[in-house]
Symmetry: none
Subunit: 156 residues, 2 copies
DNA sequence: TTTAAAATCACCCTAAAGTATGAGCCTAAA
DNA sequence: TTTAGGCTCATACTTTAGGGTGATTTTAAA
């Protein structure tokens, strides 16, 4: 607690220390300013300058930064080459409506389980569909199916 | 020009005026502090306090408020025809070279085993890489990773 | 030189994905 | 009305993927 106080109020402590040093300096100066003309004014001027600087420093140290929100527009690159279904290829491969649905959802990154939920059917059904899709596309993994289907413009 | 100077530097002028007033006060005090014990110390202390406050005031007036910029990104859709690597996004996500290679091969439909063979490393290494990729892309399946990476233009 | 990030690999375990096979239901066409 | 194709679901089994942890070695940066 004492330690955290020390660290958190370091600026204030430094200010206090500076004050102490200046008071000592002041005492020392008392000895000397008799022999200089206008020594008092010089002394007062010096004091004024030093404490002004101290005040400035203090203010800069202690003021909290204000938060301000800046809205930055960020570019998101989107492929706009609008998708056109390659119907000839689709017919040639003989993919059914349901199989296409499954294929699309696969391409969106859904798991078989998620696809099943989405289409209100069982996981086994989706497995059957995806197996058929793989057969028809002549692949053996969903990632291959997605890649091939995209290249053939069966899905966006 | 003179007028605008006056308005723009009003703080400085006020400070100057205050200084003048204080110097007068000082002169006046000179008359009196002989009759008070420790009058000099009091005077010096008062000076210190006053100029500290002045310094603080000056600093607050003259410095523009510190701001902590909070960036809120607003997405703006930009259209491009062909693939251009989104390097900003890549940097932001911190995907390493190897992780990008793995990601690309995943997108081409290769299994982890095939990727391992292609890159001449072990299956476990590929698993580690792909796990990192998923972490960084904040997904949990390769199909999601591929989908997201394509949408972010990290891969064609 | 110390630190930090990349890249490599292993082991264990669980979850998903994929294969094979069989079967019931529905609908449109022959 | 038979039939073929599409859709549904199940069981059983294998393979692949993914999560967690820990460790070593390069490489790059501070």
């Amino acid at each position: 607690m004492t330690l955290s106080f020390l660290t958190r109020n370091r600026s204030v402590l430094i200010y206090g220390a500076s004050l102490a040093v200046l008071l000592l300096l002041m005492k020392w100066l008392e000895w000397h300013f008799i022999i200089i003309d206008h020594a008092f004014e010089l002394y007062a001027g010096a004091l004024a300058i030093i404490f002004t600087l101290l005040g400035i420093w203090l203010a800069l140290k202690l003021t909290r930064p204000k938060t301000n929100t800046v809205i930055v527009e960020k570019e998101v690159i989107v492929k706009t080459a609008h998708f056109i279904l390659n119907e000839k290829e689709l017919q040639k491969l003989g993919l059914s409506k349901r199989e296409m649905e499954v294929l699309q959802l696969m391409a969106e990154g859904l798991s078989n389980h998620e696809i099943a939920e989405r289409l209100f059917v069982s996981l086994n059904t989706i497995k059957t569909h995806s197996s058929k899709v793989f057969e028809k596309l002549e692949v053996n993994r969903r990632t291959q199916a997605i890649d091939k289907a995209k290249k053939l413009n069966l899905i966006p």
